[in-house]
Symmetry: D2
Subunit: 416 residues, 4 copies
Amino acid sequence: MLKIAPAPRAALAERFRHVRALTLALAAPLSDADATVQSMPDASPTKWHLAHTTWFFETFVLRDHVAGYRLHDERFPFLFNSYYEAEGRRHARDRRGMITRPSLDEVRAYRAHVDDALLAALDDLPDAARELVTLGCHHEEQHQELLVTDILHLFGENPLEPAIWPAAPKVPVAMPGPIGWIDHAGGIVRVGHGGEGFAFDCEGPRHDALLAPHAIADRTVTNGEWAAFIADGGYRDPAYWLADGWAWVKAEGIAAPLYWEQRDGTWTRFGLDGRRPIDPAAPVTHVSLYEADAYASWAGARLPTEFEWEAAAQAHDSHAGNQMDAAGPVEPRPAAGPAFFGNVWEWTGSAYRPYPGFRPVAGAVGEYNGKFMSGQFVLRGGSCATPRGHARACYRNFFYPHQRWQFTGVRLAKDL
Amino acid sequence: MLKIAPAPRAALAERFRHVRALTLALAAPLSDADATVQSMPDASPTKWHLAHTTWFFETFVLRDHVAGYRLHDERFPFLFNSYYEAEGRRHARDRRGMITRPSLDEVRAYRAHVDDALLAALDDLPDAARELVTLGCHHEEQHQELLVTDILHLFGENPLEPAIWPAAPKVPVAMPGPIGWIDHAGGIVRVGHGGEGFAFDCEGPRHDALLAPHAIADRTVTNGEWAAFIADGGYRDPAYWLADGWAWVKAEGIAAPLYWEQRDGTWTRFGLDGRRPIDPAAPVTHVSLYEADAYASWAGARLPTEFEWEAAAQAHDSHAGNQMDAAGPVEPRPAAGPAFFGNVWEWTGSAYRPYPGFRPVAGAVGEYNGKFMSGQFVLRGGSCATPRGHARACYRNFFYPHQRWQFTGVRLAKDL
Amino acid sequence: MLKIAPAPRAALAERFRHVRALTLALAAPLSDADATVQSMPDASPTKWHLAHTTWFFETFVLRDHVAGYRLHDERFPFLFNSYYEAEGRRHARDRRGMITRPSLDEVRAYRAHVDDALLAALDDLPDAARELVTLGCHHEEQHQELLVTDILHLFGENPLEPAIWPAAPKVPVAMPGPIGWIDHAGGIVRVGHGGEGFAFDCEGPRHDALLAPHAIADRTVTNGEWAAFIADGGYRDPAYWLADGWAWVKAEGIAAPLYWEQRDGTWTRFGLDGRRPIDPAAPVTHVSLYEADAYASWAGARLPTEFEWEAAAQAHDSHAGNQMDAAGPVEPRPAAGPAFFGNVWEWTGSAYRPYPGFRPVAGAVGEYNGKFMSGQFVLRGGSCATPRGHARACYRNFFYPHQRWQFTGVRLAKDL
Amino acid sequence: MLKIAPAPRAALAERFRHVRALTLALAAPLSDADATVQSMPDASPTKWHLAHTTWFFETFVLRDHVAGYRLHDERFPFLFNSYYEAEGRRHARDRRGMITRPSLDEVRAYRAHVDDALLAALDDLPDAARELVTLGCHHEEQHQELLVTDILHLFGENPLEPAIWPAAPKVPVAMPGPIGWIDHAGGIVRVGHGGEGFAFDCEGPRHDALLAPHAIADRTVTNGEWAAFIADGGYRDPAYWLADGWAWVKAEGIAAPLYWEQRDGTWTRFGLDGRRPIDPAAPVTHVSLYEADAYASWAGARLPTEFEWEAAAQAHDSHAGNQMDAAGPVEPRPAAGPAFFGNVWEWTGSAYRPYPGFRPVAGAVGEYNGKFMSGQFVLRGGSCATPRGHARACYRNFFYPHQRWQFTGVRLAKDL
């Protein structure tokens, strides 16, 4: 994110407006109450996402780079700082759902205030500040995806299982055929962000990686295949599971992906359009790393490393595939042909650790990525809830191995 | 509650309308979000109180006694049953805050629907059903008080500490003088509900109790006296505390009543009108039984038993004092002269256990009180948040010894 | 305990020797490891019981009343103080099982040292100190019972389920007939300790209590009756249970008394002589207050109050019945004729609270009972593990309502 | 471990005797109680280590490969299986400290029985079984180190802080000079086990790894340097810490390495010889990955990757350095000259994940390593408690990032 040339001013304003508008559109169907409640410590209220992304621009751009700017509300930094220790004390993460006030409308007014101030200042911002605007847009895109998955989780906790949007029309598709394998002879490949365009700090430096001979699947695992795994006792045999995963299965009583329930003998899933039968042809989603790894063991395969994935994905268009273009009931859909982007984030077997030569940037925004580099696994590719254009071949998403409320799925790999 | 003569129909309708209206008035200042969030497992969202009290009438009166009544929404019983095991499965108590839908307006519509149906049916209801309407009104009054204290707790969790109502004008009062003691020579007294008017099942049967010679204070402990207890190290010396209380103090880091904070050397409290300095002349409130007991030890006294309290209170007017007449920023206020009702619920030293001959009524409403008779202590008197007319000399409130989000306070007693 | 005339010196020495010898005899079958491990926070290691009872004499008699006495080991008070806050910091209760050193032999040496010093000093002790020796003997008897039940719990945690003692020979007995009821017309009775002989402070002051007309069972509930309760679904129907009890049943998966397991269709129990089939004629034991209360509800009865129990028991010999005379595999046995003492401690429906006029004694020994007077229920009578002579009609034992590793049982009562 | 040529029979017998004897020697100073107690779920009792290592030989060699062998005790497999799901149900890991019986002597008898049977059978064992004997010896060496660190932890929980062995004589050494840096130009290196001699499955397959240009320190961080980190506020500034690490510091109140306490202004540590002042010249130990990473950030460096470490260590003798030769008060000591083996296990920045082509062996022993490959970090080098000969350049030890009861330390690295 630091070596990018600042975007031209007009393009940046347009980009900023577009990003900010999509966030509001995603929140449009929500009531004040919907936008306020926190369903679990991992998730945040929509209102918080709306305000925190605004706080980011207000703090790192307006406060730091616009002379005479006055905070919209002096009490908001305490409420809407996420985890930046350098920015001082902040509200406890697991109590974000207590903030019934300011209201959703007041938070929208906060957004409008900051939008106006930022757009008014944009032409005069120094390069460093415009870089931060660009960073803030990418940051907000990340929160757009979280907003969607957090709202899905909240509605999933409501016994009424309300739909957030009406279902999209179903397009009939053929069941995908057997997995095809893309072979790689191994050797040195070039990975990581190369300096063109924006990237987060953790995506670089660009460097060589050495791959062993392997093959990677040409599609992700489907719901139908997952149902076969369940039917074969996959969740009941510890032989397939990592030890931590098996402990998690037993402690939490895990027996299927998140949001799956068997009703009258049929597997259903809860989604943004309510509860419906699973589509056996669509990619499975809402599985943890533990489940992904167990499935791979059961299938006689393994997960790809992040660099095996990146090497294969470099040949594909990161703007293609089922990604989020607008607010609505996104969900993974059957794909035609090899696709490495969209539908589901793909668990890799790689721990989220720094690349050779990685060094966080100075100051509060340096807390963006580096401090999370323990205990998490890398996911690659982007999902149906990722704003189109946000992902790229070198993009590194990361979550803890038990987490599964994101649109996470599985692509297999194997040694050659 | 079961031996009462059913109220005349017109009076009952009036009573029903009045109770239902006050509940709505209490919720009036709240947004949908305010009414949805649950701040802790002990507390419930306002929306839940609004719906649960309605469910009570719908279930036990309309469903059971009005032919052809159709439920307003078949999914609501699962959501709004509180703890009646006989009424089937229900939503987990600590997940009540997940119910962002139905909205506050939809819950108000539910109330209106049930109100209309009940008032339409009232003239034809059998006696047993009218008794249940009476019970339902008393039940709703209990929830009115909980609604107020639960909202106070929620707003207290918000770092912005918003006021729910503007402050009431302060009337200057003199500091109360030293505690006066009301002596009692001991002997048999008659306690418990005597058959006139409504009472909950746990208040009876009326029976004899034997008192030892004792004295009971003519007022409750004030904020000023409590500040002296703190200043004297009362929260730091285990000698004053029950063992369970001391463990609680250490585990929770307790050092003052709930909502008290020292700011710039001054004790303040959070209330329905926001954060303000404590009034040293007003009764202390938001203290646990553990704190009440420790204070009494420090003061060389003890808590009264529930029958000592009742014997003294029988001479007083249970409709007098600082009780809730309307929605607004209720809080304990300095009292002039002996008062046993209003301001604060008074912890007694009596465990909440059944009276001789107590037998729960049959059916689901029999779960009302009896099953809670372990681990809790009796409180007597009524508070500033108790709807006027709800309390009486034989009324038994009960909470666990660590709980203190109700308007709870302390009256001393001693052996003679 | 404080107003008793001090025992004559020779009798006190004999008493002291006897008590101290029984404790050692109880520990005799145990290895150093057996005596060191703590099976749960509620229980203590045998070694700790051996040392703590010794610390009591060393601290309150030798240190405080014998000039020139030097502590056996200056580090022991920190390890072996139980809960006397006034005696300073102490080792955390739930870490008592970490103390592998001093060894069991070293603790025995500590006992011998203190025994010798105390017996040497006894003739010259002032009255107050001799009262403390008497108190220490009663204190040690309480720990003898805890030692037995704690060891039983530890051995029950061992999958090998070793026996501590060989089984006692079984004497054939007839099944007890139906419960007989002892009627009481109600009225004032005199209860509490009357000043003759030793009693703990919580047993007094002696005072009047007012009883309602009632009947109390002439024997406790048997294993056979309890098996019928289980077979009738007693553990699966919330209607019988206190709310806290039902929450406990569900959280802990409770389905039978502690130590019961069904093997090949037969109910067995683990005891000091290993695992054996239950004796249907013997009193049920190892049940919690919650279970006792649920059983009573199921049986259409209730638990007696502590004063109903005491009034009935006053006519019986507190030295009779199945109580502990020597080390060995004690267990409840079928009784012939009404018996109020021995076999099992009987849960009453009375919360453990102070009597009118109760005041703890000054100083550290004043922490003996008063500070535990919240959250617990009174048990009466004494058990097969109570040293004979320890219990009396006014004796008050107390435990939390979920605890059941003591020899606890159930006697029914009902209103007349 | 599976491709090794079986050791010649005589050498294997000698090796087996040696390993088994050292384990007994380590346990020699312990009482039955010392050997029975479990100080935390991560640690196991000495008796359990003694029995579990024996169970390994009995199960996988004698039971599976010796016709007619009868188990020493049929109940032991349930008690002494560690985590092999394929071997059936087993005693809960965190309840291992409940097993006061069998006694330490009985466990020693179990060892003798299995030793005799195995040595008697050794000449006739098939190759596969002899491979398992070799595996069992390496397995037992791992438990020797755990036994030492677990006993240290147990004794550290005893307020008396007993020494297990008397202190070794101190040899005066000069303070080490500043860290020197060993440069590496980067490029492909060969890592992992190459097929000569024994290795655990996770150490292979041997493969190429690509290193970036870097430098690695020629010694580990000392106690004196760590004291400077503390004095500089290293434990109080979140800027140095991984987010998970900072959460751990705050939740656990971490302010120094495990076993460090400041007494009279001097830093002391608890060790196998009791509590003594830290030696500023000796390597720091008992630090977590979180602490190691924070120190490296503070020092402007980073942790080495496991392959950077391995590349540097390949030039050194893995049998040299301060490793365990005999039972006694091992502890890290100041080293003269570069040393990559002994003293402390060195945290690397590499997550513990499989090598390319890794595949667990079939059957129960396949659970040895692969299933632990999530959430843990690799440590390299061996410690003062590692039996000499056990470690090698390709050896991979692994623990969770918060664990620190092993002899764990820190070597720095940096990018070039």
